[in-house]
Every structure is written in structure tokens, then in C-alpha cells.
């Protein structure tokens, strides 16, 4: 059973009758620095339901990106546990973690990091190529086309990165992240390098994957306008979840309700 989107008027949380797709239990992350131990994440527990769009929001240095890396299996926690579809991923070997990233998660970062020599199709199909699959096969080629269409880049399949605008490059990065139909899509400040208008295009693209394909998304941002696309917002500060704001699924993505809640919290 997957998460059923609510209407814009329903400001309630998604139904929790199903198991969470992602769960963090008492997660901590410490870094040893000369003369001190820095605790970037301190005892975070949260859960994300299938099909949900969740945002981790906080100021710079709050630990939100570190938290995303722990949730996505890019880094290992100092203590606590991360469960993806009920399976612990916090202590995976490098090869198992690699397989997890290849098959079950997708990432979009602030930097687009496209391969310059590859065109749009090839960049989007990169996860298949990495996995040793032939992206020209009928099924995979269809999935590549579908991902490109979803980010509204149809017609630019043969363009190389240097022939695309920054927003288009980031949309290629989004398509690359969703082409494998991952269980979870992690986006770390995906609009950080973009202007306001282009940033909205990216957020719209992420939103469409969520709406049309039921893609579960965890977005890290410091921007309330970006976080307003989410169903739920975890406010991160000082390595902890300071608050959870449930916005519900809405189509207007107005930031006002979120900003109002944040104001109430003194943020």
C-alpha cells in the first residue's frame, strides 16, 4: 500500500497505517577534531512514509546535510540506526552500500556534476551504465525517455551539459536520480546554485515525480519557499529535530503557512 496524496485542503499528515519506508532511530554522528569531538547529529529519530515529500530545514551548520547523508547511506552513523524499507543500512559494507545507492536510492546535489562528454540521454542513463546494464535496451531506454519527459527536457536528449542552462543541467541531475525508480530520492539543496525562477522549476520537477509516480522524497534546504513543497517539514537545529511541521499535500506550495509556523517557533 502506498501513500495516498491528500487534497490541498486536508492539512493533515499522511495516513500512518503502512510501515515507514525510512526510519531513523536515535541517530548520532560525531566527528573527532583536534582537541574536541563535534556532534553534528544528536539523537535524531524520524520516519518517512512511502510517497511522502519530506523536507529537512535548518540554517547552515545545523546538521541537516549530515543527517541526509546518514539517511541515504552515504555515511555511517556513530550510533543509532537507519532502516530503509525495514532493513538496517547504517552498518553496510562498502559494496552493500554501493548496491543500495545503485538500486534503491537516488541523489540530487547542489552541484549538478554531469559528465561533460555525455549528452542528456547518456547522463540520465548513467546509473544503468554503472550497473553494467545496457541503457539502449527497450525497457531501460523507455525509462530514460520517461525520466527526461518528467523533468521537461524532451527534445534536448542529444544536448551536452555545456549546451544546457544551469536549471536544465539540474533537471538532468533529477532525471538521473529518478531513472532507476528508487525507493527514496534525496535532494541536498538542489536549488542552491540556481536563481529563484530556475529553482522553482526544479522544485516543480521534484513535485511532479512525487505526484505522478509516488516518489518518496527527502529534501534538505535552508529555504522556506523550497520546504513549502513538502508534506512535512522537520526543523533541524544544533544536530537535532527541533520541530515537525505538517503542511499536508498542497498544490499551491505557498510558503506563508510554513513561515508563519516557523515564526511561532521563533525561527
Amino acid at each position: 500500500m502506498t501513500f495516498q496524496p491528500t487534497t490541498a485542503d486536508e492539512a493533515s499528515a499522511p495516513r500512518r497505517t503502512v510501515l515507514p519506508i525510512l526510519e531513523a532511530r536515535s541517530l548520532t554522528k560525531q566527528y573527532r577534531m583536534p582537541g574536541e569531538i563535534v556532534e553534528a547529529v544528536r539523537g535524531v529519530s524520524l520516519s518517512v512514509m512511502p510517497g511522502e515529500f519530506v523536507a529537512l530545514m535548518g540554517p547552515s551548520g545545523s546538521g541537516k546535510s549530515t543527517l541526509l547523508q546518514l539517511l541515504g547511506g552515504l555515511d555511517q552513523p556513530s550510533s543509532g540506526e537507519v532502516l530503509l524499507e525495514g532493513e538496517p543500512i547504517g552498518r553496510l559494507s562498502d559494496s552493500d552500500a554501493t548496491r543500495l545507492r545503485r538500486e534503491r536510492t537516488g541523489f540530487v546535489f547542489q552541484s549538478f556534476n554531469l559528465v561533460p562528454l555525455m549528452n542528456v540521454v547518456e547522463n540520465v542513463a548513467l546509473p544503468f551504465t554503472i550497473a553494467g546494464q545496457d541503457p539502449r535496451s527497450h525497457e531501460l531506454a523507455g525509462r530514460v525517455r520517461e525520466a527526461i519527459a518528467l523533468v521537461d527536457l524532451t527534445g534536448k536528449e542529444r544536448h551536452r551539459p555545456d549546451q544546457l542552462s544551469a536549471g536544465e543541467q539540474q533537471r538532468v541531475a533529477v532525471a538521473r536520480a529518478i531513472v532507476t525508480r528508487p525507493a527514496l530520492l534525496f535532494a541536498d539543496e538542489p536549488t542552491g546554485n540556481l536563481d529563484f525562477r530556475t529553482g522553482l522549476d526544479i522544485l516543480d520537477a521534484l513535485w511532479r515525480t512525487c505526484m505522478e509516480r509516488g516518489q518518496t522524497i527527502v529534501l534538505v534546504t535552508h529555504d522556506a519557499k523550497a520546504a513549502a513543497y513538502a508534506d512535512r517539514v522537520f526543523v533541524v537545529g544544533d544536530g537535532q529535530i527541533q520541530d515537525e511541521i505538517v503542511l499536508g499535500r498542497r498544490t499551491d506550495h505557498a510558503a506563508a503557512p510554513l513561515i508563519a509556523r516557523l515564526a511561532l517557533l521563533g525561527l
Binding site: 547523508q69 537516488g106 546535489f109 552541484s111 559528465v115 546509473p127 551504465t129 541531475a173 539543496e189
Partner: protein
């Protein structure tokens, strides 16, 4: 200012590995230069010592032109020349010591040197280890060298039996000379006798010993105090009318010896300059990388008020530190390399060198070139650093096409500086214009190859990537993308490899040409399967060795060969005496002009000569022309009856061919130096043991033609092995450049690698992609280097070197160069690849 200098230090310290690799690269370049200069100075010193040992205090030397030596009459004429204070005649010949009871039989020949015991001490000092000097001019006493005494177990007071034309000559050892003694080229096996005693070795049984000293090989002349050398030399020219001779001064002998080492010295110097070229590319690349890497910091410094000149000083300070450190280490490396090279040359028997001389010039040239080239190479990066705009700090990647132009444009300047310095330092450049012209040609070829690399980068990368793509498609694509990320850097990285591998291929090409030139004549010219060589003229004709050899069942042909010199138009012309009928029967000699049969028959008559075509072209003579040749009997006219493509090799080119009759009757040839033996088909196995037995009996050395070719090839291999070693220094520098470049690539691509890892790429895939990148770089270097190397080889071979104009494409070395390029590049990439594979994803994907 002090703060900026400290910043420069920190910048170097922050990239310790790159700094270290660059210092090693500079030190290798400087090391090869210092080694080349050290060996060059060592050869000069050895030549000077040799000449001093040869001529002592003599001002002039008169050398016999004919085998019969200088006659008593000529000696009298010489002594009577005004201004001549002293003449010291000497007889030199090779022979064997007779075996004696109680001593092992030593089969190596000895050189007998007959001297005038009263005149000789006034010309040169014979340094005695023990015993006493020779006394009377006709005494039965002898001096032997320490080397001969040690190898043959000789002691003071022992009797020596020396083989001559008559009964063995018995002399008593009265003294032992230090070391190898005075004779160069004897291998230390020298016996010094009074001249009249030495003369007895040429007297056959039944003949009476001549009353006066004659048959003299050479006379050293000491002039009266204040007598002008030129004037006395002119007087000698007028006075000596009886025989042809060669008059030389000590500096002529030194020049001649220096000329014989010119090829190896100029090649070593050229390799040194090319290694510096590779080092300069490494430095330019390193400095450029440093600027690119720190462009934001430099922009911030500019924004904080740093002047352009201050930024330049930062970069130049870095270059200075690298240059000084690299040059310092390079002096040490070069000294070690020079001793290795000198030992190699000595062991190979190619050149007489006692050891390298690392003098102030070599040290200053090493430091000057190391620091100078580093600073010159740093100028463009420094200028670019100074041009960084304070507002452009966020623009990490500039216009790559402009960067390529800047890199390659400056490379031309750097190469021009090194090239000019190299041409000025090149040994022999002042006397032989062909040497600097060749060097400049090689430089231009290498430069063109490097400059063409960015133009051809995309298709070459695609071509070189094909084998990798077949196995690792993704890695190959990523590697090609990385290679094309910064064509300027790739050009410099591949450029050093191109230069190193080009020189390896070029040397193989030259070695191949040299081998062909040195051995092709054996099949084309020698009318035999085996050659028997004599240490003294061997008798020919009825009862002679050729007759005895021909009488052996299974021997189809035994023909005598003798080498001698002709005096033609004031120059020495190397000649070989042959029997035309024997060459006609055996089908040797390829005639390019004149009728073969008629020409060879004419040689067996009188007054005919056959010339190698290249020499005929140099002399400006052709078939039908007459050459007037000087002999002791006056001028002899020889008619050119034919031209051959190739003849017996001489010191300065192929020898001219003269009939045996003319050689013995007119040119003083006393006997054969060698006999070529042709076996009847299928009879070699039966006949060869008898031929070899006769050779042993007659003190001849038997060598199958194939063994001669093999020995020539081995000698060339040893010589070129040393040059290959020096060329490999450039390849090692290129490998250091690859490490630097791939490390920088990894640092620059850290986000991309992080993204790929986040997208499911494994460590091993990342590792492989960097290795494939290196492999493609290596393959491009190998491909371009091979093509360039073949062209350089053609230029070096055809430029008048020892190899001659013919060049061959060394396919095995071409294949080896490509494999070496790929393997070395991938080996160099091991650490950067490991580094790339270990890129922590969280760090890599961290936002700005």
C-alpha cells in the same frame, strides 16, 4: 612581502606529493645534463691524458703511411731538418708470445713497441713500477706492463719468447711498467724493446738484420728551443721526399680522438636537452595546476589589495624553491649517473674514459639550467596568476581554448630557451654545423608533435580508448571526459610522454640503421662464410696461407684481404686490396656503375681502382676518370673502372678497392690482414675443423661471418643501451607528470566522483576509470611518440651520424613504446586512482 613568501612556501607544503614529484622531475632533467657534461669533460680529460702519454714532450709526430714503415733514409732526412732537436723513432707491431713451460698459454696478442732507449726518455717518461729502464739500443732486455705481467704470470728476470717472422726472439724482462703502459688500444698487453731488437722480429730466417734502423712506425719530433712549429712543419714537408707519411701535432691527435667520440657526446648532450624539455613541460604543468587550483585564493589576495607584481612574486618564489631544490638534487643524481655512464662506456669498450669530471662548469650549468628553466616555465603561470581578476574568483574554469593557447604558446618560448642553450652547449657544434642543425631539427619535430596533441586530442583519445571501451565502456567514457576537461593540461602531460617515448623509438631506429649499416656489408661484400684475421701481414700466394686454405677439401675459395691507406689529393683514402677473380667467382660486390666482370678483371691487372659510390660522389670522380695516388715511388695513376653500392667499412666511410697486384707492388702491402673462406655447398661441417686448426697453427683468429655480425650488433646494443637509459629519464619525468595531472584531475573531479559514487558507482569502478584515463594518456603518448620517434630517427640517421642515411622503422620498439607508455602511465596512476576510489562521498558532495 615576507607574508607572501610564506604563503608561497605554504602552497608548496600543502601539496607535498606534487612538490616532491616536480623536484624529482627537475632533478632528473638536471641530472642527465650534469651526467652528459661530466662524461663529456671526462672524455676530454682522458683524451688529453692519452695524447700526453702518446706524444709526451714531442712537438710533432711523423707516422708511416705504408706498412713497410719509414726507412732509414727518411729518418736521416727528418733529423736533418732545421729546427729539429731530437727524433725518437718507434716500431709498433702485434705478435704473440711463445708458450713456455711453467706458464699458462695466453692466446691474446701482445703489442711490441720498439723504442730508442737514449732518445725516448727525452720525449716521454716511461713510469716503472719495478726494475730498471732499457739500456742499449740493441740489448736483449724488455719491459712489460703490470697488466701483462699479472695476466701472463711474468716476473722480473723471466725470459720472454716473442714470435716474429723468423725464430722466436728471446729477451729478458728487466723492468715492469705501471698499469697498462704507454700504448693506447693494446689492452695493456705491451712489451717494450730496444728498437734494434724489435726490428729483428721482421727478419726472416736466413736474412741478415739491417744495419740501420728502418721499418719505423712513427717518429716523435722535439723541436729546438724557440723553433716555430709551423715553420719546422713546412720544412719537414719539403725535406721528406722519399716516402708518403702523415705529419701531425699533438692537438691534431687530440682533435682526431675527439672527433671519434663526437657522435656519442653530441647524442648525450641532445638527450640531456630533450630531458630538460620534458622537465620544463612538467614544471610548466605543475605551476599551471598550482595557479588553477589556487585561483580563488589568488583572486581573494587581489581583492584584499595584493598587487599583480606581488602575485607574480608568489608564483616565482614557488618556482625558485622548486628549481633550487631540483637542481641541488639533480647535481647529486647527475654525478651518480655520470659515474654509471662512464663505467658503462668503459665496460662496453666503445670509448676510453677513465671517469667523469664533474667540474664547476657542469655544476653551474646544472644549477643554471634547473633554476633558469623552472623560472622561465613559471613565467606564463605567474602572468596568468597576476591577471586573475578579484571579481572573477567564482569563475573556476576559464576559457579552455585560451588556456591551451597560453600553455602551448609559452611552451614554444620555453623550448626556444632550452634549444638555444642546448645548441650553444652541444659538443662539436662549433666545428660541425650539421650537429646543431640536426639538434634544432629534432627539437622542432618534438615541439610540433607536442603542439599537435591538443588538435588531435579528441580523435586520438577515441582511438586510444577503443581497446579499453571493449572491456570497460563506462570507465572509458568517463576517462575520455576527464582527458578533455583541460586540453592544455592534457597536452603538457602527454607532451612529456611523447618526448620520452619518441626518443626511445628514435634511438631504436638509429640503432637499427646503425646495425644494418654495420653488418649489411658482410653479406654484400665478404666472399666467404668465415673470416680469418691476422695480427701481422700474412703471406699470400704459392705456399701462402690462402694456398694452404684452398687445398683443404671442402673449401671452395680462400681469398686474401688487406687494408691500407692511399694518399690522394692531399687526403688519406682508406683502401682494401682484393683479388678481383675471387669476388667475380663468388658473386660479391654490387656494381652501380661500370661493367662488373670487366671491372673485377681489371683489378687483377694493373692501374685499376673501384670506388664505393658515395665516396666517388664526395671525391667528384666517376667511371673512366683517373686518380693520381702518391706512393714512395712517386705518383701512380689508377683508372676508376667501376662503382659499387657498398664496400668494406673504413674509419671514415667505405674503403676503395685496389687489385692485389698493385697493392703489393706499388702501395707497400706486405701480406693479408684477413682471409675470407667460402666452403663448398654442404661441406662446411667437414672442412671447418681443418680450417680452424690451420688458423690456430698460423696464429689467425677465425670468425664466422654471422659471429662478426653478432659482435657488431652486441657492441651497438651496449652503446645504445646507455642512450636508452638516458632517454628513459624523460619517460620517468613524464610518469611524474602523469601522477601530478591525475592527482589534480581527481581533486578537481571530486564532486563528480562523489556524485558517481552516490549514483551507485563502486570504488573499483572509480579506480578503474582513473587507470583507464592514464592508459588512454599513455596510449596517446605512445602513438604520437612512436610516429615522432620514427621521424626523429630518420633525421638523426640521415644527418650524417655513424648510422648512415638508412633508417628502419623499429616495429618491436614502436610496440614496446606504446605498451611502455600505457603501462607506465597506469602504474603512475595507481596512487591517484586509489585516492579517487577513496573519495569520501559526504565530503565530495558537500555544497559550496
Amino acid at each position: 612581502m615576507r607574508g607572501l613568501v610564506r604563503y608561497a612556501w605554504r602552497a608548496l607544503a600543502a601539496r607535498r606529493a606534487r612538490t616532491l614529484l616536480t623536484v624529482i622531475g627537475i632533478s632528473l632533467g638536471v641530472g642527465v645534463l650534469v651526467a652528459a657534461l661530466g662524461v663529456d669533460a671526462g672524455l676530454d680529460a682522458s683524451i688529453d691524458r692519452t695524447v700526453a702519454s702518446m706524444v709526451g714532450r714531442a712537438d710533432l709526430r711523423v707516422t708511416a703511411f705504408e706498412e713497410t714503415g719509414l726507412s732509414a733514409g727518411t729518418l736521416e732526412q727528418l733529423a736533418a731538418v732545421p729546427g729539429v732537436a731530437l727524433t725518437a723513432p718507434a716500431i709498433e707491431r702485434k705478435t704473440f708470445l711463445a708458450s713456455q713451460a711453467g706458464r699458462p698459454v695466453e692466446t691474446a696478442p701482445v703489442t711490441v713497441l720498439g723504442i730508442d732507449p737514449s732518445a725516448e726518455p727525452r720525449v716521454r717518461d716511461l713510469s716503472l713500477a719495478r726494475g730498471v729502464a732499457l739500456a742499449p739500443a740493441d740489448g736483449a732486455s724488455a719491459l712489460v706492463t703490470e697488466t701483462l705481467a699479472a695476466t701472463d704470470g711474468l716476473e722480473l728476470g723471466d725470459n720472454l719468447q716473442i714470435l716474429g717472422m723468423g725464430a722466436p726472439l728471446t729477451v729478458k724482462i728487466t723492468g715492469v711498467l705501471r698499469g697498462d703502459g704507454p700504448e693506447l688500444g693494446s689492452g695493456g698487453r705491451t712489451v717494450v724493446l730496444p728498437i734494434r731488437t724489435a726490428q729483428l722480429l721482421s727478419v726472416a730466417d736466413g736474412d741478415t738484420a739491417p744495419a740501420q734502423v728502418g721499418g719505423v712506425t712513427r717518429v716523435d719530433v722535439v723541436l729546438a728551443a724557440g723553433a716555430p712549429v709551423d715553420q719546422v712543419a713546412a720544412s719537414i714537408g719539403q725535406a721528406l721526399t722519399l716516402q708518403p707519411y702523415v705529419l701531425s701535432r699533438p692537438q691534431d691527435i687530440a682533435s682526431s680522438l675527439r672527433a671519434s667520440t663526437l657522435d656519442i657526446r653530441s647524442t648525450m648532450a641532445l638527450l640531456a636537452a630533450i630531458t630538460l624539455f620534458a622537465a620544463a613541460i612538467l614544471i610548466l604543468n605543475t605551476m599551471a595546476m598550482t595557479v588553477v587550483e589556487r585561483i580563488r585564493e589568488l583572486g581573494l589576495l587581489r581583492a584584499a589589495g595584493a598587487q599583480r607584481s606581488q602575485i607574480v612574486r608568489v608564483v616565482v618564489t614557488q618556482a625558485l624553491v622548486l628549481g633550487v631544490a631540483g637542481s641541488g638534487v639533480g647535481i647529486v643524481v647527475g654525478t651518480l649517473l655520470a659515474y654509471l655512464a662512464a663505467a658503462w662506456l668503459r665496460a662496453s669498450g666503445q670509448l676510453a674514459i677513465e671517469g667523469p669530471v664533474i667540474g664547476p662548469f657542469a655544476v653551474l650549468a646544472g644549477i643554471g639550467s634547473g633554476v633558469g628553466i623552472t623560472l622561465v616555465a613559471a613565467v606564463e603561470p605567474a602572468r596568468r596568476a597576476a591577471a586573475v581578476s578579484p571579481v572573477a574568483v567564482l569563475r573556476v574554469r576559464s576559457d579552455t581554448a585560451r588556456l591551451v593557447r597560453a600553455h602551448t604558446g609559452w611552451l614554444v618560448v620555453v623550448v626556444a630557451v632550452i634549444g638555444t642553450a642546448a645548441v650553444l652547449l652541444l659538443p662539436g657544434g662549433a666545428t660541425d654545423l650539421a650537429i646543431p642543425v640536426r639538434a634544432v631539427g629534432v627539437y622542432v619535430l618534438l615541439l610540433v608533435a607536442v603542439l599537435l596533441t591538443p588538435v588531435l586530442l579528441a580523435p586520438l583519445a577515441r582511438l586510444a580508448g577503443l581497446p579499453f571501451a571493449a572491456l570497460l565502456r563506462l570507465e572509458e567514457r568517463l576517462a575520455r571526459a576527464a582527458i578533455r576537461r583541460d586540453p592544455g593540461r592534457t597536452t603538457l602531460t602527454v607532451g612529456a610522454l611523447v618526448i620520452g617515448l619518441a626518443m626511445v623509438v628514435a634511438l631504436a631506429s638509429v640503432a637499427g640503421s646503425a646495425r644494418v649499416s654495420a653488418t649489411a656489408w658482410l653479406a654484400d661484400v665478404v666472399p666467404g662464410d668465415e673470416v680469418l684475421t691476422a695480427i701481422a701481414p700474412a703471406p699470400v700466394g704459392p705456399g701462402g696461407i690462402d694456398t694452404q686454405l684452398s687445398s683443404i677439401d671442402g673449401v671452395a675459395l680462400a681469398t686474401p684481404i688487406a687494408s691500407f691507406d692511399l694518399a690522394y689529393a692531399g687526403t688519406r683514402l682508406e683502401a682494401v686490396a682484393i683479388r678481383g677473380a675471387d669476388f667475380l667467382a663468388d658473386g660479391r660486390l654490387n656494381f652501380t656503375a661500370g661493367d662488373r666482370t670487366a671491372a673485377l678483371n681489371a683489378l687483377d691487372g694493373t692501374g685499376a681502382i673501384v670506388l664505393p659510390a658515395p665516396r666517388a660522389a664526395r671525391l667528384g670522380v666517376g667511371v673512366g676518370d683517373t686518380m693520381a695516388v702518391a706512393t714512395s715511388q712517386g705518383l701512380v695513376n689508377l683508372k676508376v673502372v667501376g662503382l659499387v653500392a657498398r664496400s668494406f667499412p673504413g674509419r671514415t666511410g667505405d674503403a676503395v678497392l685496389v687489385g692485389w697486384g698493385d697493392a703489393t707492388s706499388k702501395f707497400g702491402v706486405l701480406g693479408a690482414d684477413a682471409f675470407a673462406v667460402r666452403y663448398a655447398p654442404g661441406r662446411q661441417a667437414d672442412a671447418q675443423p681443418q680450417v680452424d686448426a690451420l688458423a690456430r697453427q698460423m696464429a689467425l683468429t677465425a670468425s664466422p661471418v654471422s659471429a662478426v655480425a653478432g659482435a657488431v650488433g652486441d657492441a651497438l646494443d651496449r652503446l645504445f643501451g646507455l642512450l636508452d637509459l638516458l632517454a628513459l629519464a624523460a619517460v620517468v619525468i613524464a610518469a611524474l607528470g602523469i601522477v601530478n595531472t591525475l592527482s589534480m584531475d581527481t581533486l578537481e573531479r571530486v564532486r563528480e566522483i562523489g556524485m558517481l559514487r552516490a549514483a551507485g558507482m563502486s570504488r573499483i569502478q572509480v579506480w578503474r576509470s582513473v587507470l583507464v584515463e592514464a592508459g588512454i594518456l599513455g596510449a596517446i603518448g605512445g602513438l604520437v611518440g612512436s610516429v615522432t620517434g620514427v621521424l626523429v630517427g630518420v633525421l638523426l640517421s640521415g644527418g650524417g651520424g655513424a648510422a648512415g642515411p638508412m633508417s628502419v622503422v623499429p616495429w618491436p620498439t614502436v610496440a614496446l613504446a606504446i605498451v611502455l607508455g600505457v603501462a607506465l602511465a597506469m602504474l603512475a596512476a595507481a596512487q591517484p586512482a586509489r585516492m579517487a576510489g577513496r573519495v569520501p562521498i559526504p565530503m565530495a558532495v558537500r555544497g559550496e
